[in-house]
């Protein structure tokens, strides 16, 4: 029984350490990647995964070793899991609308063609009318 609890503690601490390493990996990507969009990719995804690992480890430790089920910690896990991609998406869209240039080795830009099509058909209509004969 003693060794079982030691093993449980060790595995939970390893989970937390792995989460911290994911956070450090995301910081490394934030430093090294060449573009706003790539950096935002690194910062959003791996930081979310790392923080989820850390929070899950803390929750498991409180549940198994201190006999406290922390609903607030579960709420924090769900909140980070939901809001971090939204924040990354908003930030990337704001960067594109602001005109931050892409990396010069980027090969594909779908938003560019969509935005020019929207401005050609006019910004008064929210979406371009489908199969309109006058627009051709």
């Amino acid at each position: 029984m003693e060794t079982m609890s030691k093993l449980g503690e060790l595995s939970i601490a390893l989970l937390i350490l792995i989460g911290a390493l994911f956070c450090a990996l995301s910081a490394f990507g934030l430093i090294r990647l060449p573009d706003v969009y790539l950096r935002s990719h690194a910062a959003t995804k791996s930081a979310t995964l790392g923080v989820l690992c850390v929070l899950a480890g803390v929750f498991l430790y409180f549940m198994f070793f201190l006999d406290q089920v922390s609903v607030k910690l579960l709420l924090g896990i769900a909140f980070v899991f939901v809001t971090s991609p939204i924040a990354g998406h908003l930030n990337g869209r704001a960067a594109y609308r602001q005109g931050v240039p892409l990396w010069d080795k980027s090969v594909r830009d779908d938003l560019q063609s969509a935005l020019t099509e929207e401005t050609q058909t006019g910004t008064q209509t929210l979406r371009p009318p489908p199969n309109e004969p006058e627009s051709k």
């Binding site: 350490l17 995301s26 850390v54 409180f62 922390s70």
Partner: protein, 97 residues
């Protein structure tokens, strides 16, 4: 044993915060700084969680929720500020025509 591992993960998390701080100071565009501020907030959340576990207390878990909410609202507000500034200029041009 677990305390040593937790201290090591605290050190790794503070290294991550330092890396984000480099991007925050150096970042060429505003969106870089916003993304790194978001990453710093999320790393701070993990630091508070590890501190809760080191002290074996639940007293700081509210801090996790508050930091998460403030980070999200701050990132959203900054991004909307950048984007809506541009959109408002476009609207003014439309009215001027």
């Amino acid at each position: 044993m677990i305390d040593h591992l937790l201290t090591a993960s605290l050190a790794v998390l503070s290294l991550a915060v330092l890396g984000c701080l480099y991007r925050l100071l150096k970042g060429p565009s505003m969106a870089d700084r916003i993304a790194s501020l978001d990453a710093i907030g999320i790393n701070l959340l993990a630091v508070v969680a590890v501190l809760c576990l080191l002290f074996r207390t639940q007293a700081y878990i509210d801090t996790i929720l508050v930091i998460g909410i403030l980070t999200f609202i701050g990132t959203t507000a900054f991004a909307r500020y950048i984007e809506r500034g541009v959109v408002l200029e476009d609207g003014d041009d439309e009215q001027a025509r």
